[in-house]
């Protein structure tokens, strides 16, 4: 029983990070049909923002020295800032372009951010110690789960709930959904579309910052590549969950994390290095079964 519970907790640990990443991508996709591949680089940017630019091997901690109650809002604002800035400088110009063009633009933006960080901080990973105490595990019914993961899971669920309430029950949420359905029509009906889209970018950037803080706390490392893997899994999760569906993205994030943990736990040693092949194999089967993802948005379906 304890062993099963442990596997469940391990799956939750990994899944919660994926879910949080997927949420940030699904949000932007839901509003403007953009798969923002620069999201992973926002994560790296937010983590590096805690360090002073230097190409020395040893990191010079700068913002990271602030107390948590200042640091968290500052990093969230920075995340929102870079995300909004990329909307103003880049994505706004592609508003009427097709989604593939926007996706390529997001790749390009990601490269720019990555190489900007490389220039300032060099390619060497930097170390940063952030709130070590929350990495310590809690014992629940004999199974162990790091406090950080409990926080991550709670944060993910709260953000999901908050977003759903925001989108379904507030005026801005309604406007956001309207802009997502038909941008031109929404504008004609008097919705300040740019404000709405900027708000979505700000929220998505904050989610990237949150993931960055969690990753930095857990790994103690800032690396220019650090968002890449998470971004990839999160993207797959948004596809599996049904592009544009927020609960779908979160559910699929947990699902992929869970699947990955289960494979790690139960595959024979020789097959374990190929864990991801099995995970993505399962993803392919899932997509053959439900090509539009698990939770399909009505608006995402092709209307003939």
């Amino acid at each position: 029983m304890t062993a099963l519970l442990q596997v469940f907790f391990d799956a939750l640990s990994l899944g919660s990070l994926y879910a949080l990443g997927a949420l940030g991508i699904a949000l932007i996709f839901g509003v403007m049909r953009l798969v923002n591949f620069a999201h992973g680089d926002y994560i790296a940017f937010c983590v590096f923002a805690m360090l002073w630019p230097s190409i020395d091997a040893a990191a010079i901690v700068f913002l990271g020295n602030l107390p948590a109650w200042v640091l968290i809002p500052v990093i969230l604002v920075l995340g929102a800032g870079i995300s909004v800035l990329s909307e103003i400088l880049v994505f706004r110009r592609f508003r009427n372009a097709n989604p593939a063009t926007m996706m390529i633009a997001s790749f390009a933006l990601g490269f720019v951010i990555k190489y900007f960080l490389l220039m300032l901080y060099s390619s060497r990973p930097k170390s940063i110690d952030l709130w070590s105490a929350v990495s310590l595990p809690l014992e629940i019914f004999g199974a162990r789960i790091p406090l950080l993961q409990v926080i991550t899971i709670a944060v993910t669920l709260v953000i999901l709930l908050g977003l759903v309430l925001f989108l379904k029950h507030t005026r801005y949420g309604l406007e956001m959904r309207a802009a997502a359905e038909n941008f031109t029509m929404a504008r004609m009906l008097g919705i300040r579309a740019n404000t709405v889209i900027m708000m979505a970018f700000a929220l998505s950037g904050m989610l990237a910052a949150a993931v960055g803080l969690i990753l930095a706390t857990q790994s103690g490392t800032a690396d220019i590549q650090m968002g890449a893997n998470l971004m990839l899994v999160a993207f797959v999760a948004t596809v599996v969950g049904g592009l544009g569906s927020l609960p779908g993205a979160v559910f699929a994030g947990f699902l992929i994390g869970g699947l990955s943990s289960l494979m790690q736990a139960y595959l024979p040693p020789d097959a374990r290095p190929f864990r991801d092949a099995f995970v993505y194999g399962a993803v392919i089967f899932m997509l053959i079964w439900r090509p539009n993802g698990l939770f399909t948005q009505k608006s995402a379906k092709q209307r003939v």
Partner: protein, 397 residues
């Protein structure tokens, strides 16, 4: 043929003669660096390159090599394999007698192959794969470092002998060949240690967001292993170590030299029982005072302390190559290779070096053993594995 045509041909020929490689220049010896001066690999190439330049300076100040000054030419690989081949050709065009290539096998090989094609000696700055040499490039290619497998074997034998470790656990990060190399060496050594056994093994990926499942497997062993062989490198290694210790696993963690240096320790405050092999100490406590002197020179030249042991192979490289050139009395590649292959336990500042006609790399080597206790690294021992790892075994991996 009209006179003006003859003149034209003559001009063309003399222009051709002028553009021929400068190797005809007998006044100096040229070392060409076809390494990354920009991009991802730059941070890994530069420290060893700086050390190589220090050794070149020393030789030049002492009167040069074969009475000639060593001149450096360089070309940027831009951390790109295609550019790497071009950089190799560029330094060869500038007359390089020795082509120094990137630290990593994959990034260094294109330039090394260019050198091999031109029949020149090439040296990988610090590649630790058996392919960095005869096996992967050709008979004129060498590496200045020690094979990753030796690091794994060293840690296993040392922990067995000095820490009475019998029950080992093996955790492999499948990201790079380097990581696999450490575990290959460990796997080779383990059956040679009487009563030592593997009580469990697992794999992870360097960029795994969490290794909770791997930790659960260690935790569910009937008793904690005597030592965990962790075959990984930066940046995932820090994350793995942090998570292992946070989960309350106290067993000593053995690693390869990839985790040498103290720059990452701030990520895991008060880390204890973490042990790495190092070719020399960057912590100022090397048993050889000359190493500490070198560290001071390095600081004076570059403005910073060496960040990890990967500075040192650059120095060793120029050292052994220059010795071979002195003995061969020429920079001719075949003669220099023959002299290098005669080296057996050739002393260098950072441990002895042996090259044979079979292997241009170290399948055995002296390592300092550095342990981190309460967040402080300290050299606690020295170890040379009792027998060299057979070339056949290395090549089969």
């Amino acid at each position: 043929m009209k006179t003006w045509m003859k003149t034209g041909l003559g001009v063309a020929l003399s222009a051709l003669a002028l553009s021929l490689p400068a190797s005809a220049d007998d006044e100096k010896i040229i070392v060409g660096f076809a390494t990354a001066q920009s991009g991802f690999m730059q941070a890994y190439d530069k420290p060893a390159e700086d050390a190589a330049r220090i050794r070149i300076d020393e030789i030049n100040k002492a009167g040069g090599l074969l009475g000639k000054q060593i001149e450096i030419v360089a070309a940027d690989t831009k951390t790109d394999r295609a550019e790497g081949a071009k950089a190799g050709l560029e330094v060869l065009d500038k007359g390089a007698d020795l082509v120094v290539v990137s630290c990593d096998y994959d990034f260094g090989a294109p330039a090394a192959l260019a050198a091999e094609g031109a029949g020149k000696v090439s040296f990988f700055l610090c590649a630790e794969s058996v392919k960095a040499g005869i096996q992967g490039v050709g008979p004129h290619s060498f590496s200045a470092s020690v094979l990753a497998a030796v690091q794994g074997a060293t840690m296993a034998e040392w922990a067995y002998t000095k820490r009475n470790a019998r029950n080992f656990y093996r955790l492999l990060d499948t990201w790079t060949e380097y990581n696999k190399g450490i575990c290959d060496g460990f796997d080779w050594m383990l059956p040679r240690l009487k009563d030592a056994k593997l009580v469990g093994e697992d794999t992870f990926k360097n960029d795994d967001a969490s290794i909770a499942a791997q930790i659960t497997r260690i935790k569910s062993l009937p008793q904690e292993p005597d030592a965990i062989m962790l075959c990984t490198m930066m940046p995932g290694a820090v994350s793995a170590v942090k998570q292992i210790r946070a989960a309350g696993i106290k067993a000593p963690i053995l690693n390869g030299s990839g985790m040498s240096g103290s720059y990452w320790l701030s990520a895991v405050p008060d880390l204890s029982g973490f042990i790495v092999p190092e070719q020399g100490s960057v912590h100022g406590d090397d048993p050889n005072p000359k190493v500490t002197e070198f560290n001071a020179t390095y600081k004076a030249v570059t403005g910073g302390d060496p960040s990890s042991q990967y500075v040192y192979p650059g120095y060793v490289m120029i050292d052994v190559w220059a010795k071979a050139v002195e003995r061969a009395k020429t920079t001719d590649a075949d003669a220099v290779v023959a002299e290098l292959e005669k080296m057996k336990d050739e002393p260098t500042l950072f441990g002895p070096r042996t090259f044979t006609s079979e292997l241009h790399h170290q399948n055995r080597g002296r390592y300092l053993i550095t342990e981190i206790t309460n967040g402080k690294p300290k050299v606690i021992d020295e170890w040379t594995i009792s027998e060299a790892i057979p070339v056949d075994y290395l090549a089969s991996k």
